[in-house]
Every structure is written in C-alpha cells, then in structure tokens.
C-alpha cells in the first residue's frame, strides 16, 4: 500500500467532499481551487472517487426481512402474566353460564398483553345456546360486531395492527360474517355487513384499488375483493358491479409477467402469500360471470405449477423456498383446488396425485396445529379440509376445531376473540386473529 500519511490539502479535500466544512472554510477552499492548479488536479482525482462511491448501488431490503425480524421479536415477547390456568378455569365457568343463556362482559378482568382496547360499547352479550362450535362462532361474531368502528371498518391500530391494514382487516371480518350467514340469529348482523361493505366501497380509488397506495396494498386489494364477491353472492344489492369490475381490473393490471403477484417495490417478483388472494378474486369473478380473465388465470396457474415442488408444496418465492417455515405453505397449497374448473380432464389424475401427497402433509399439520399456532395457516388449512370429504379428514377437522375453541378467549372484555399471539399477530392484531379463526371455524361446519 502507498504512503498512509495524507497531506493537509488532502484532508481539506476530503472534508470539502463530505460537506464537513464551515461556510467560511468552504468559500476559502473554493477560492484556492480556482487559483491553485495543482490543488485542482488533486481535487479532481479525489472527486472521481467521491462520485464513484456515491454511485455504488445500494442493497434494498424487503418486506420479508421485516416479517422475519418481527417474528423473531414476537418469539422473545412473553406475556407478563400467564392467563392459561385462569382462562381454563374461567372457560368452564363461562360454559356453565352459557348453558343458562347469557354471557356478560366483565370490566374487572385483566386485559390481554398487547391489545387492551375494549369494544366500543360494553353491553351484555347474548350468545346462542348450542354445541361448542356454535357457541364459539356466536362469541366470535359478537366480538367482531362490537369491535366494528362507526364508519363500518375494523381499525387496525385500535386492535394491535398497523393502520395500513384497515382495509384488509375489514375485508377479513366481513368474510367472517358473510361465511356465517347460515346462522339462525344472523339477521342481527346484517347492518354490520352493510356498513363494512360500504366502508370498503368508499375506500375504492379511481384505478380500482382499495385504500392507500402502500407497498403491500395487494393484500388489502385481494382480501377486500374476495370479501365483496362473497357479499354480492348473498346480497346482490349491496355491491355495484362496476366497483367489482374496477377492482378486478386493478388486480389484472398488477399481475407480474411471471403470472404471480408481489409487493409493489419488489421489482416484479411474485410471492405465494400475495398471489393467493388475487387468484381467488379472479376465479370468483370468473364464476360470477366476468369475461376476459382466462389469460390471467392460465398465466397464474402456470406460475403456481412452477412454484410447486415434487411433493405438491408451493414455495414462497420459488420452489422449496420457506422463509417462514413450510407448514403455512403446505396449507396455502390448497389453492390448487381453486383451479378445478380450469384444469382439463386429463389433468384431474395429476391433480388427484397431488391431492394424495398434499393430504399427507395436511395430516401432519392438522395433527399438531398447536405446535406452530398460525391463524393464517388455519384459514387455508380448513379451506382444504372442507374440500376433502373422507371421514378421516373429518377427524382432522375435529382436531383443528378443538384447538381453535381452546384458544378462544373465554372471559373478560375480549370474550369471544382470539389473542393475536401467533406468527402474524404483530402485523394483524386481534381483528386478524379473530376473523381468521372465525372463518376457519365456520369452514369446519
């Protein structure tokens, strides 16, 4: 290496280039450069290094890294007090109360660790009598009903989530209600459905997107669109067709060349978690009678096939890519059933093979769902279980149902909800965990 001693002029040049001079020093230095040719020549040599350093391409981080970090943090955060024995004991007491017809919110209970906002109006809640599943569903819907804001949304930040997810959380909650519309006392929630639908529609932008233009807006878009299609199936007057068309146009235009969908700033890369909601929207649109979506669906099916390994499991960004573990993606691989209509007869055998392989993985997850509590996973797991008709799978469904019911909050201001203490609770908060668990429970009926 050359001489490591720098001259005073070199020190001045570096200070100037790094903008570490006072205005007076700067002026004096600039005057010298204009008159001192030797200094100017030396300055230009340093300046080329300086501009080269400024041009060096920076690495960009991704939402995936954020999620990994937050998952790590979530694992380190333990409740200050264990509520498990408390909930178990109170759970039995609550069930006895239910047998007599009524639950009451108690304001004296300890709030949960992260999200301590109580529902807006602590009125007594009447929960229907019936079996455990029925009781769990009723409690969940009532909690969601009371957590709804006056404008019809479920406000992310009120329940431990980021405000940017309010549209998606409203879509998930709406799905929970619409999927449960078979319930006998459902009429009480029609206003809830109407207000939530209205909120989503009012948040639609001219380009068909919903809510703010954020990096992960397609989560909001896909979930809201799926929810609106479920609403229009049951309540045709609540959703204008034009809104749905614009929502679908936005999804189609956002599709990457690969056939998948991804984060807005991910340079055209796609991932399974975002894609799954968009393709569900497109298939629902096609089933509803929208035309011109075949190419998008075919392109996505090709992408899904390309992402699937020989065991029938989709990777996150490429085959065998499991940045958040494999089990969630095994459950998400149930997306394959969405394409039944798209696959030709000759593909059905191939699909059956896939189902067999998928089934084995599904069993592993369903037999130990508590190992990795993940309400997002339960959503897709129960979607797949619903598709599997054999008796064996109903036993698996029972296992999942038991876990979900055990985890439901049995008393206190959050009665009927689920603690957001799974892998994604830090992102979606209590509305996410409760809506996902409710949809999963309803799917098991």
């Amino acid at each position: 290496m050359q001489n490591e001693i720098t001259s005073p002029d070199e020190d001045l040049i570096v200070s100037y280039l790094l903008d570490e001079m006072t205005p007076e020093e700067k002026n004096a230095f600039q005057s010298r450069i204009e008159t001192d040719k030797e200094l100017k020549s030396l300055f230009l040599r340093y300046q080329s290094v300086d501009s080269g350093l400024r041009k060096i391409e920076k690495q960009t981080s991704s939402e995936i890294l954020t999620q990994r970090i937050m998952q790590d943090i979530n694992k380190t955060t333990k409740p200050k007090k264990s509520y498990i024995p408390y909930i178990k004991a109170a759970g039995w007491a609550a069930l006895l109360f239910v047998a007599f017809g009524k639950f009451f919110f108690s304001t004296s209970e300890q709030p949960s660790q992260a999200n301590t906002v109580a529902p807006k109006n602590n009125i007594p809640v009447v929960v229907s009598q019936g079996n455990k599943l029925e009781i769990a569903e009723s409690g969940a819907l009532e909690w969601l009903h009371q957590a709804q804001a006056a404008n019809g949304s479920w406000v992310g930040q009120d329940w431990g989530a980021d405000s940017q997810y309010t549209i998606g959380l409203t879509g998930l909650s709406l799905l929970a209600f619409v999927n449960a519309e078979h319930k006998t006392n459902f009429a009480a929630y029609l206003k809830t459905v109407e207000k939530a639908t209205q909120f989503i529609l009012e948040s639609q932008n001219a380009d068909g997107s919903f809510g703010p233009s954020i990096n992960n807006r397609l989560y909001n878009q896909g979930i809201a669109t799926v929810a609106l299609f479920k609403v229009i199936e049951n309540y045709p007057n609540l959703v204008p067709i034009d809104s749905l068309k614009r929502a679908i146009d936005f999804i189609s235009l956002s599709q990457n060349k690969s056939g998948g969908w991804g984060y807005a700033n991910d340079n055209g890369n796609s991932n399974t978690a975002i894609s799954i909601w968009q393709i569900h929207s497109l298939i629902l649109a096609k089933q509803y009678g929208f035309n011109g979506l075949e190419d998008s669906i075919k392109a996505n099916l090709a992408w899904v096939k390309g992402m699937t390994d020989k065991n029938g499991v989709m990777g996150y960004r490429k085959p065998s890519d499991y940045p958040f573990g494999q089990s969630g993606l095994v459950a998400m691989s149930g997306i394959f059933w969405l394409y039944e209509e798209q696959l030709s007869n000759s593909s059905i055998d191939e699909m059956f093979e896939f189902k067999l392989k998928f089934q084995e993985d599904l069993e592993k997850i369903a037999m130990a769902p508590e190992k990795n509590l993940n309400y997002y996973q339960f959503y897709f797991l129960t979607f797949s279980l619903k598709k599997l008709k054999e008796k064996h799978q109903f036993q698996l469904a029972q296992k999942v149902e038991d876990i979900l019911i055990t985890k439901q909050t049995q008393n206190g201001p959050q009665l009927g909800s689920w603690e957001p203490n799974d892998a994604w609770g830090h992102t979606g908060g209590r509305v996410y965990s409760t809506a996902m668990a409710t949809i999963s429970l309803v799917a098991l009926k």
Binding site: K58, Q59, L65, T66, I73, A114
Partner: protein
C-alpha cells in the same frame, strides 16, 4: 428531557419500551436497509447481511429497556451493529467474512470479479479491500449518510481519529484506482 426527546425514532423506542410492537416495527422498517448495506459493504454476503441486520435489530429490541434518549437512536443502533459484526468475525474468524482486508471469497464475489472490467466495479472491489477500520468510516459516511461526529460517537473514538481514518481511506481508494488504471 433530552435534546433527542422529540426525534421520531426516540418516540418509537420509548413506545416500544412500553410493549408497543407497531412502534418498534417502524424502527425496523426505517433502519433495516441501512443495516443491510452496512453489513454488505463490510464484506458480508447478502444473506449474511440480512441475518446480521436481523440480529442487530433483535438486540436493539432486547436492550430497549436499557435505552435512554441521551444520544440519537441511530448512534445506539449502529454501535450494536458494529459490535455484532465484530462478534461475528470473531466467531467465524477464518474464511467467509474477513474484516482484516482480505477480499471475501464467497459466491457473491463472482459478480465483483465480472464487474472488475469497469471503473465502478473496480471501485467496489477497492472498497472491499480496505482494512475494516478504514472501510467502516467510508461505509457509514457514504452509505448511511452519517456525519463524522456521529461516526465518532458510534465508534467511541475522538473526532480527529475519524477524520484521519477517512482521509487515509480516500487516499487509499484513489491510489488503488489510479494503480488499477495504470495497469
């Protein structure tokens, strides 16, 4: 009330101390790219850089209760990051990540060997060849936009030391590039 109490970073950190994970997520979102670049241009591979950035932010979270707003949060965080890097080198010591000036021999360097053909690529190689003490001041200054006083606070050395390291680093880069061109 310290002079940093109104910084948004400090506010988020104080909220995180109370258990607000959304506030901490904002810190993660703000600094993860800076940390990624810090480790990457300190000679870690892309995946190592992600792991080290993750580790640094996790440490920040674990230390949150000890944090008092007597300095900028970025100073506190980069001090953690630098110590994380040094711990990592000590553990790995030998091959994959050297902070002692050897060029990293990992798959990531293939692209640098290819890029050697052009001036910009050569400068990146030259930067990676600098001894750690010199490289760290360049990386913090050019990639993180930190002022020399902030770098001095992070490294816990006098301002004059940072100034002289920066001058040496720039001189070495200039000389390396000129020698390269002369070949």
């Amino acid at each position: 009330m310290s002079e940093y109490s109104n910084d948004e970073d400090v506010k988020w950190m104080l909220e995180a101390q109370k258990g607000d994970q959304i506030a901490f997520r904002k810190i993660v979102e703000k600094y993860q790219s800076s940390l990624l670049n810090f480790f990457y241009y300190m000679n870690a591979s892309r995946s190592e850089s992600e792991d080290l950035a993750q580790e640094s932010l996790l440490k920040l979270y674990l230390y949150r209760e000890k944090y008092t707003p007597t300095a900028k949060l970025s100073t506190f965080l980069f001090r953690i990051a630098r110590n994380t890097a040094i711990d990592y080198i000590r553990k790995k010591k030998a091959v994959s990540m050297s902070f002692e000036g050897d060029l990293l021999e990992s798959p990531d360097n293939k692209e640098y060997r290819t890029a050697e053909k052009d001036w910009q690529g050569s400068l990146e190689i030259a930067l990676k060849k600098l001894p750690e003490k010199l490289r760290s001041v360049v990386v913090m200054s050019y990639f993180e936009g930190l002022k020399q006083q902030e770098i001095a606070d992070i490294l816990e050395v006098p301002l004059g030391t940072v100034k002289s390291r920066m001058s040496f680093a720039m001189k070495q880069l200039k000389d390396l590039m000129e020698n390269n061109n002369a070949k």
